[in-house]
Amino acid sequence: MNLFQSEIYLQNKEVILIITLILGILIFSTSLFFIWGKIKPTSNLVELKTRTKSWWMMASIFIFATVVHPIVSFIAFGLLSFVSFREINSISKNVREEDRRVIIWCYIAIPIQYFLAYKGWFNIFVIFIPVIMYVWIPFMLVIKGATEDIARSMSILPTQLMLTVFSISHLAFLLSLPELSGFNAGGRGLLLFIVFITEINDVFQFVWGKLFGRHKIIEKISPNKTWEGFIGGIVTTAIIGYFLRFLTPMNGTEAIMVSLLIAFSGFVGDIILSAIKRDAGLKDTGTAIPGHGGILDRIDSLALTAPAFFYVIYNLYYV
């Protein structure tokens, strides 16, 4: 088995186009900040520069994981889930000491979920965490026998699995979708579309918010979220989604509607994770990626956009 079948995947025009686009944007923004820093040395670009640097790193890993053999992609997404679950589990002050042996079951669930995604067994993939683990974890907690605050652990652990494993595994499942006639980009195209649109939505909500942000949406949770940033972000995202629809089987109207849905659910995912971080008494969930806070700060929007996008596409085209 050749793990590096990139020649085959790179024959796909749509995929090449989007990868070129991603690299183009990165080169553009890097040189922009470089020139900006040269012209106005006083301006504070450190945050923007570290952010761009992190984007380079993440984009290269992501592109590498998508163009090589699918097994590599599944392992990469599984690791992403693993690191994210570890982070969300570590910052939670509500996980009890008695839960540690049950937490192992959550870690065991990660490879199983990705194995199901790899096999493309949709019916069990879709119930494994929300139904089976949702019962299994409380069962294990009960067997452990420590009843104080047990109800809290029963709800927290499955929720953490949902946010970091169930949701992200939908990205991997895109690669297991069957081929559709007349649609060339395939699962890889869909994967690149959803990740690109989600991240571009994050970036534009940030940019519009910085430029024109006046009216705060929910100051208590996320003081940087403004109506101006939100609306500017979803409009920009919808426009970009319209032009990138060649990666998907969607027509123009569908692409705009789905992009709006992604933009909105990205926003929701962002504030849900923000609220969790606030509860833990943290602004950034860790320091894994420079300038971006922890891993969770990057996957927060994906945690909601991935399943949202997946089910729309699945029900429109694959049922």
Binding site: R86, E87, S90, E97, R100, R101, I103, Y107, T287
Partner: protein, 196 residues
């Protein structure tokens, strides 16, 4: 080993370059887990590793010949007795001898691992040792969360995001044993504050 700790367990190594600044040192760390020694030792260079001895409890690791052999083989540990000495084999002597030979030590002055996340009072040994060897710096190390990964009495390792923070090498300024102990303790707690 370090990669295992970093990728699987989620240990973050902070400022481990400070270990390279001095040739001989005494690492003083808080103690919550068996992982503590591994986390510190995996940050040492190969050359340092040969010349660094963790100080371990003889009554725990040395209670059988096999256990004591394994401990010494893998970690190079010097086993001491935690209970009051009866004059013949003073635990401080064993540590002092190693220092005279130019070796570095890893010391957990709390004495035992205790409850996860809680620091116990420091034992006197570190104070006496530093007082006897004022030319040797101590390096404060603070570890956070190790007690959650592998607490006392547990065999199952559960990944958690944890930290090992290394401080700068420090020479003692006082000759009074209890002041030295307070200073060392303060340096370790300061590292914790920097993390937060």
């Amino acid at each position: 080993m370090r990669n295992f700790l970093r990728i699987i367990v989620g240990v973050k190594f902070i400022n481990k370059e400070s270990l390279k600044k001095e040739k001989q040192f005494i690492i003083v760390a808080n103690h919550n887990s068996h992982l503590d020694v591994m986390a510190i030792m995996s940050s040492l260079s190969f050359h340092q590793l040969k010349n660094t001895h963790p100080i371990a409890a003889g009554d725990y690791f040395g209670n059988s010949k096999f256990k004591s052999y394994i401990t010494r083989l893998f970690t190079n540990a010097i086993l001491i007795r935690r209970s009051k000495s009866n004059g013949t084999d003073n635990p401080i002597d064993a540590m002092n001898k190693a220092i005279q030979k130019g070796k570095s030590l890893i010391l957990f002055p709390e004495g035992s691992r205790g409850e996860p996340g809680k620091m116990q009072e420091f034992k006197k040994g570190i104070g006496i040792l530093l007082q006897m060897n004022p030319t040797i710096p101590f390096i404060p190390v603070y570890m956070k969360g190790m007690g959650k990964v592998l607490p006392k009495g547990e065999k199952l390792l559960v990944p958690f995001n944890t930290y090992v923070a290394f401080g700068e090498p420090i020479f003692i300024t006082s000759t009074d044993i209890s002041t030295i102990i307070i200073d060392v303790e303060k340096e370790i707690i300061n590292l914790d504050k920097k993390l937060a």
